[in-house]
Each structure stands twice: as structure tokens, then as C-alpha cells.
Symmetry: C2
């Protein structure tokens, strides 16, 4: 690890001195014969030669990824560490250490956490993984509450924090009077972005109940869109403010943008999702590239949305949700496994690197410390989040069959972890419009560090202490059949009552799906019922688990099995094994036929 | 497809006008407040905005990859096409079409096939896949023949073609007298590089016998190193030639480089391979990043080797061969599947893109046509390859137990397909040293097109016509056990005879491996015998195949099974199923215990 660390530092140190990175795009041999005339010694043939420029970009990317993986492996080597604190804390700490070493060696931080790196390369894998593995059923069952909470919550937080800070800025003793209202509102929108990565990592480890998880998930999904729109609007307003008045038409355009960004993102995602599903219909002879369809189409939806300044996060999530069902039916078992695990790997690496890069970028000359601003920012972040949670859930609970308990609300308000998105938005601020950009960066960092370290470490124990309902979901054929039966039943009851709700909607969509979409998007000769594919999936899972199972059995369970084995298992004769295999094979086939 | 094609063309057209690509590394918001003063209209808030520069690089990469995948899917949609010609031909044709469209729209080809893109991003996945899936046993069994043929073959071809062409250049009527000896030798070394991609694709489709396949595989593996060394030496000599005399020390340094490049590459690969295997020992809690270890360490070995100008291809292959055995024992079943299939996917995409890019880069203003040079190059390529094959195999056959037949030799000499490596080396030539670079590029392209199209299309039928022995390898426990028994037996016989050969060597290595390497590199609590892991692997494969099997069964076989089913299979009672599952689970466990 130390070796690698020093390698990274050296290479980073070598790279920061260069004016730009594009140099390494030059070919291996530059036609520099003219320069070499002076020193004929250089043209001698050497047995060893070094050309680092040529490989610089991929080399450094590889080293950073490896460093991140080593940090992750090291963190999990000791069993006690993961119980004490979330991974993110350690990663940020390691990042800060690396950043400090690099900074000490040449007084500059490497430009690892630039905004385009974050938004174009590091965020998409995480969004894709979240969207692809999102439990669609609970998401749509809690859809109303999610929209209500995430949209209004983000707006309340943004304006609340912005306006309160503007009030603080009026007090002359703090030396903040040069910050105007728009700048404060912009900072408010920036700092209110709850990070999808930081919060969900903690929640997944704590495995809380589904509605609670869906609230945080939905929030992180939608509030990116809202925050980025607010951020863009405020930047545009600040720009206008210098030259002319802001007219009411601009405010209307701002509102229109919300809808364009949100609905446009979803539309993009759905279209690309269907395209991707359609393509996998034709890949039966080239199954090697099946995973590519999933990754490339969803990335394309993200990039296309970003190009048009609409929410890439929403687009990618919508794309993943749309394609998932059809792609899974189409692709081969091996492609399916590859898609699933590679997605998990990518997002895990991205996550690791985001936290590490955040640590690295902390060290530098970008800071301006102001006690009042920093402390009041932190305070308002906490206050406004708690206020908005309790106010909004008080209202939304009146419409829910199972209201969120006070415990749930406490956890939601406590899980407002800020992360890389706020950080990279702060770095993005144009200096000419925001002369005190450094102050904003420092305050953002303090809020991030406070929420990730203090709240992140304590939220796990808090969940345990409050004894929040946990999830215990397990897939089984039986459950699946009963859930479907109940769905049909409820849809029927609603139909008779004349009440039009989401059971009806789902029933209608399923009929439409079976009649048209599946016929277009799914290959022919596939099993007709999804129950059969679920059975198949579980059989394979079982087979793999059986074979895997032996690998990690500890000594104690081995002894237990040892005694059990002698009693229960008799040796198998070859004919028995053959019969068994035949029966199993035909049994599977039989199910498919029905 | 057409839609995508036009998208690619548009974006490419948009990009070629820009002076450099580094512009898109700029952040989302450029601090351009100063510029905006003049046109206050621009600062109005818009509902829609477009910012293509920001996403340009990943967007275009994604589009190219998708275009390549579509070409691949389209090619395999019609069953007749793959039988008529290799994929590479169609891909080059599509590439040329795309290139022509882009060229027609703005008289410039997009810089897609630059040398760094080829050597840093497109080649490594292919090399990794080849190395990882290389059958190590036949490779080491034919090691002597492979070294003999690939090293001497490459040298013979390089010097043969170079010297013959120099002879042709002396005839004044052809207008080539300005080409000196060194330039011709360099061209010879460049054009004699048999392409690992083009040749092996054809061979895999034809599934020829193993020793034959290993010859071509070994050649493509080693001759890269040799060609690149020769190329570098000749470039250095050409440079020296202009200013001073070439001394004998330079020639010695040239020879030394061969060994440094070859052995250094292997050493690098082995070290990184062991490191990677060692790392996977500790990933049991973070199995999500297991595939990363394989991909990143092998890429790092490649890049490190390339930095030092030693053979990256050899390094990566050695790394893959070294790590494979240990990594497979360490990682989970799902990681194993992911590694395998993602590797195949990456290499398949790279391959597709290389051929397409070659097509795209063909169209342009880089050409100078000279009938004599082009035709004689083609002729000498064919003649020298045939000569060297028959001469070298005549000698090496005397030392082989199973000599290569004349048919085999004919196939080897006919499979000298040139591809992207020659092409990108030609593009790399410094113009100031090689004023007739365009002539070299044209001649290289003609040789590539001739070998890929004419030889590539006819080699399949030729293999079938000559009735070359084919491979029919199938994994089975039985075979594996017998092979091992025979190995031990042969090693024992050799020991008694006092004859020291590769059976002895293998036996010694296996003992060393069991005693030290495995203890260091493989996790504890793993099954001790590799026969058990083979059994497990095959059980899982069978389970997956069983479940998959139903998917592609045609109507006719369904009917056959239908009748069979009624006779053989009786319905299973729940107790029977439970018993069966128990027995299977314990059976697997039992084997592991032994």
C-alpha cells in the first residue's frame, strides 16, 4: 500500500507541474529531429528508455483506482472497523493524507475532483447502480410521499438556509456584508443538496425498512434535479443582476425549467431504456456485447440529458428502471451476472474514489475561514432540515395508510448527509461573480465533514437505539404468487368501488405491457410467464450458493456438519446420480412447458 | 442504425473543426462574464440550453462504441453473412463508409485511430483476453517451436522484405531512388508484423487443431515485441544516419534491446500477476471489487512496460497467465463469471472498433500511389512469409515428436494477416525523417486490405478444403485425472532415464507451487485439490446450462422431448425433492471434505 501511495504521489507530483494534460495525447514519437541536432549524444541508441508522458493519463487513472481499492480492502480487513464507522470516513481521511503529501511536495493539489470528472465519470455508475437495483414496487407505492417530500423539502431547505444566512450577513460585526441576497440563495441551494452516495451507503448498512429507505432514495434522486436547477437559475440571476433588472418573465422561465428538467429527464430515460431493451432482442448470436447495451445506452441517456442541461440523474434512473425488466428476460444468464456484478463493482469504485478525491481536494489554498458564516451555515442546515421534515411529514402522513412514525422522521432528518455534489458545485462557482468563493468552499467542506463524520458515525447506533423497523425481504415463489394474487384482487375491488388508484393503474399497465411492449421488446421462444423466469433465477442462485457455500464455512460449522453428515447422507451410486440429474433436468423443463 | 450513424457523423464533424480536444475538459461554467457584457440578450434565462463541449469526449466515445456494437449485431442477424466472410471485412467496409461520409462533410478524417488510442486503449483488452484464456498447457508444450518460429520468422521477414524492396528501389524507372536502405528496412519491419487480432479471429472461427493455433498465437504474441524493437532501432539508426556514422556499439545495443524488451516484459508481467493474485487473497469482504484487481493490475503491467519501451503485450500476457490460476481459486463464483464475460466483452468491442477505425482512417489525404512499390511490397510479403515458414519448419520439425504437416505449414503461411498494428506504426512515422511517409501508408493499407479481405475470406474454405485436423476439446473430470496421472508417470520415467525435459520441469514447478506459492497466494479454508474446484466449476456450469437450455430450444426438439418426457419422468413429491436437494448439497460438501 505504501509503495502504491508513493507511486501515486510521485506521478501526481509529476503531473501537476505540467500546464495541461493534453500533452499526453501526443504520439509516441514526436517529429523533433530538428531539436536533436544540437545534442547528438541524445540520438545514441539506448538499451533503456523511459517515456512517461505517453502513458500518463491511463497510468494515473489506474493508480488512483488501485489506491482506492486498496483503501477499501484495508478497511474491511479488520472486522471492528466497519462496525465503528462508515467507510466514507476512512476514505476521506486517507484522501486528506494523500492530498497533504502531494501538497507538501509541490504546494498544489492535483486537479482530481474537477466538476467534469465528478459529473461525467464518477457519478453515473452510482446512479446507474441505484436505478437498476431500485425496488420499483415500493418506489411507486410511496410515489406521492416521495414527490411531496423531496420537491418541497429541497425548496424549503434551499430558501430557508439562503434567507437565514442573508439575515446573518446583515450583521456588520461578522464582516459578511458584501454577500448579497442572490449569492446567499445560491449557496443555500448548493448546500441543501443531500448526497445520494453518502446517505444511502449508511442506510444500506443499517438495512432500515423499505418506506424509510425509499424516502431517502427518492430524495437523493429528485433533489439533484431541483438543486442543480436552482443553482443554474441563481447563477443566471446573479449574472443578470450585474447588468440589468430581473424581470418576471425570468422567474416564470425558472419555474418552467423545473418541469423541463424533471419530466424531460424521465422522458429521455424511458426512450433510451426502450431502445436498449429493443437492441438486446437481437443479440442472441453476439451475447458477448449484451452488457454493453445496458451500460452504453444508460450512459448515453445521462450524457444526452446533461448536454441539454436537464437532469441526467433522473434520465439514467428512468432508463435503468425501464430497461431492467426486458433486458433481464432477453440476455443470457452469464451476461445477466456480468451486468449485475460489474455494475456493483463500478459503483463501488466510483463511490470510493469520490470520497478519496474529496479528501485530496480538501488540502489546498482554496480556503477562507469565517467563524460566523461557517457556524451559522452548519446550524441552519440542521435546523431547516429538521423543520422541513417534521412539517412536511405532518401533512403527508394524513394521506398515508401507514404514516411515518416520529422515529422514522427523526432518522430522515438526521440522515441529511452532504457530500460530493455540494462540494463540486461549490468548486464550480465562477470567481468573477462570486468574489468570496473560497468562503463558500470552506463552509461547504465543514458541513460535509460534520455530516459525514459526526452524523455518519452516529446514525448506525441511532437506528439501533431507536429500534427502527428493519427490512427482511427474501425472494420466494410463494410470496411472489400471493403478492400478484392480491394485486389482482385489489384492482378488482377498486374497479367495483369505482375508485381509481395505483392498483388499477398498475393492472392497466401490466395488461398494456403484456399485449404490446413485451411482444416488441422480448425475444421470441422465451418463457411466457415471469413466474417461470423467477423460478429459474432462483434455481441458478441456489446452485451457485450450494457450490460456493463450502468456501467460507468456518471451523465450528464444519464440525456441526461433520456429525450431521454421518447420520443423514448415504453414498450415491452412479445410477442414482444419473436418475437424479435426469429428474432435475426434466423437472425444470416441465415447469417451463406449463 | 442509420440514426446513430448520422449522430456519429454529426458529432465527429463537429469535433474535427476544433483545434484540440482538451477544450471539453473545461468546467460547465466558464467565467465569461466579461464577454457577455456586449450582448445582454444572452444573459436571459432560457428554458432550454445546450452545452455540447462539456460532454463531448465521453459522448463521442459512447457513440462510437454503440455504432460498433450495432455493426456487430447487424452482421450476426443474417445467418449467411458470417459463413461467407469474417466479421473484420464487414467492419472495415462500414468504417470506410463512415469515414467517407465524414470526409465528404468536411474534408478531414476524424483522428480516431491515433497511435496512442490504439496502443493504450484498444489493444490491451484484446491482449488481456488472449492471455487469460490462453491454453497454457499446449503453449508450454510447443514452447520451443513457438520461439524458433516467431523470433526467426519475424527477423527473416523483416530483413527479407526490406532488402528486396531496397533492390527494387534501385531501378530508376520506378521513381523510388530516394528511399535509402534504412527506410526500406524499417518499412520491412513494420509490414512484417502479423496482426494478433486479424489472424486469431479467423482461426478461432475455423477451430483448427491446438499446435497450429498455438503457432499463430505465439507468433502474434512475440512478433509484436520483435517488430516494435526493430522499428525503434531503425528509427534511431535513421536519425543517427543524418548526423553521424552508426557505430558497432549501436548494433550491440540493438541486440541487447531484444532481450531487455522480451525478458523484461515477461518479468514485469509475472511480478504484477503475483501481486494481483496476492491482493485477491484479502478481498473476501469486498468481493465487489475482485474483478477490478484482475483488470487494473494487468493494465498497470502493460502501461508500466510501455513506459519503459519494453513489450507491453508480453507483460500483459505473462501477468494474465500468472494470475489466472490463483485468482480463480480466490474469487467468488459471481466475480469469476464477471471477470470472464466482461473480459470477453471488452476484447470483442475493442476488436470491432479497431477494424472500424481502420476503415474510417483509410479515407483521407494521406495517400501517395506508386504501382511498383505497392505491388512489389505485396508480392514480397507473400513470398517471404511462405519461404520463411517452409524453411523454419523444415528445421524445427526434426526436433518434434509430431511434426507439422505440409498442410499445417501451408495454413500458417497463408494466415499472415496484417492489421492495425502495422497501420498505426505507419501513421507514427516522423515526416521529417521519412519524406515519403504517405507512400508507406498507402502500401501498408493495400497489404492489410489484401490480406484481410482476400486471405481472410478464403482461409476458412481453405482450412475446410485441406481438411486440417480440428480441435475437439471438452473438459471432463475423467480426462483431467488421466492427464495428471500421465504427467506424473512421464516425469517419473524421465527421472529414471536421467533425461531432463519439460515433464520434469513441470513436476518441479508444481511441487514448488504447492509448497510455497499456493500458500502465499490462495486464501485459507479453500479446497486443497484443484480437481475439487474443477468439479465445482463444472457443476455450476451444468446448473446454469440446464436453466438456460430451455431458452433456445426449437420446436422440433421440443416435440422430441415431449414424447420422451411422458415415458421417463414421474412427478416428484415434495419429500422426494427435499431428499434430493439434501443429498446433492451434502454430496458436494462431501467431495470438498475429502
Amino acid at each position: 500500500l505504501l509503495l502504491l501511495l508513493s507511486l501515486v504521489c510521485c506521478s501526481a507530483a509529476a503531473s501537476v507541474d505540467k500546464p495541461n494534460l493534453s500533452k499526453s495525447f501526443l504520439p509516441h514519437y514526436e517529429p523533433d529531429g530538428g531539436d536533436a541536432v544540437g545534442s547528438s549524444q541524445d540520438t545514441r541508441l539506448h538499451v533503456f528508455t523511459v517515456d512517461y508522458d505517453y502513458v500518463q493519463i491511463p497510468y494515473e487513472v489506474t493508480l488512483w483506482i488501485l489506491l482506492a481499492s486498496f483503501a477499501k480492502i484495508g478497511f474491511h480487513l479488520y472486522h471492528r472497523l466497519p462496525r465503528l464507522m462508515p467507510e466514507s470516513c476512512i476514505l476521506i481521511a486517507i484522501g486528506t493524507l494523500v492530498g497533504a503529501i502531494i501538497f507538501a511536495s509541490d504546494h498544489k493539489s492535483p486537479p482530481v475532483m474537477s466538476t467534469s470528472i465528478y459529473f461525467l465519470y464518477l457519478l453515473p455508475p452510482i446512479v446507474l447502480e441505484e436505478g437498476y437495483f431500485m425496488p420499483t414496487r415500493p418506489f411507486f407505492e410511496n410515489f406521492g410521499s416521495i414527490i411531496w417530500w423531496s420537491v418541497l423539502g429541497s425548496l424549503l431547505n434551499s430558501f430557508g438556509i439562503g434567507l437565514s444566512l442573508y439575515g446573518i450577513c446583515q450583521i456588520e460585526a461578522f464582516g459578511l456584508t458584501d454577500l448579497n441576497l442572490l449569492q446567499n440563495l445560491l449557496f443555500g441551494s448548493m448546500i441543501s443538496a443531500v448526497d445520494p452516495v453518502a446517505a444511502l451507503v449508511v442506510f444500506e448498512e443499517a438495512s432500515v425498512n423499505e418506506p424509510l429507505y425509499m424516502m431517502i432514495f427518492g430524495e437523493s434522486l429528485l433533489n439533484d434535479g431541483i438543486t442543480v436547477v436552482l443553482y443554474n437559475i441563481f447563477i443566471a440571476f446573479t449574472q443578470m443582476h450585474r447588468y440589468e433588472e430581473i424581470e418576471s418573465i425570468d422567474v416564470f422561465a425558472g419555474f418552467a425549467r423545473f418541469f423541463v428538467v424533471g419530466l424531460g429527464g424521465v422522458l429521455f430515460g424511458v426512450v433510451f431504456g426502450f431502445l436498449s431493451a429493443l437492441m438486446t432482442r437481437f443479440t442472441h448470436n453476439v451475447s458477448a456485447i449484451e452488457p454493453l447495451m445496458v451500460f452504453m445506452f444508460s450512459y448515453l441517456s445521462y450524457l444526452s440529458a446533461e448536454t441539454l442541461y436537464i437532469s441526467g440523474i433522473l434520465a439514467m434512473t428512468a432508463c435503468a428502471v425501464t430497461m431492467k425488466k426486458y433486458v433481464e428476460e432477453n440476455v443470457s444468464q452469464n451476461s445477466y451476472t456480468t451486468i449485475k456484478y460489474f455494475m456493483k463493482m463500478l459503483s463501488s469504485v466510483s463511490e470510493t474514489m469520490i470520497f478519496m478525491f474529496m479528501g485530496v481536494s480538501t488540502v489546498g489554498k482554496n480556503h477562507e475561514w469565517n467563524w460566523a458564516f461557517v457556524i451559522f451555515t452548519l446550524l441552519f442546515c440542521l435546523i431547516w432540515r429538521t423543520l422541513s421534515v417534521f412539517a412536511l411529514f405532518y401533512i403527508s402522513n394524513k394521506f398515508r395508510t401507514y404514516p411515518f412514525t416520529l422515529k422514522d422522521q427523526l432518522i430522515i432528518s438526521y440522515s441529511g448527509l452532504r457530500g460530493a455534489s455540494s462540494f463540486s458545485l461549490a468548486f464550480l462557482l465562477p470567481v468573477n461573480l462570486f468574489p468570496r468563493k473560497k468562503l463558500f468552499i470552506t463552509a461547504t467542506l465543514v458541513v460535509i465533514y460534520f455530516t459525514v463524520f459526526i452524523q455518519g458515525i452516529t446514525i448506525g447506533p441511532l437506528v439501533r437505539y431507536l429500534d427502527v423497523r428493519k427490512t427482511n425481504k427474501k425472494e420466494s415463489i410463494n410470496e411472489e404468487i400471493h403478492v400478484r394474487l392480491m394485486d389482482h384482487l385489489k384492482a378488482g375491488v377498486e374497479d367495483i368501488c369505482g375508485h381509481w388508484s395505483h392498483y388499477q393503474l398498475r393492472d392497466k399497465f401490466k395488461k398494456f405491457d403484456n399485449k404490446y411492449l413485451k411482444k416488441i421488446l422480448i425475444r421470441e421462444h422465451q418463457p411466457k410467464s415471469s413466474i417461470v423466469s423467477l423460478y429459474k433465477k432462483m434455481e441458478i442462485k441456489l446452485a451457485i450458493e450450494l457450490a460456493e457455500g463450502g468456501m467460507n464455512i468456518s471451523e465450528s460449522s464444519t464440525a456441526a456438519l461433520q456429525s450431521g453428515r454421518n447420520q443423514q447422507v448415504h453414498r450415491l451410486s452412479p445410477t442414482e446420480v444419473k436418475l437424479m440429474r435426469d429428474v432435475l433436468a426434466h423437472n425444470l423443463y416441465q415447469v417451463r412447458q406449463r
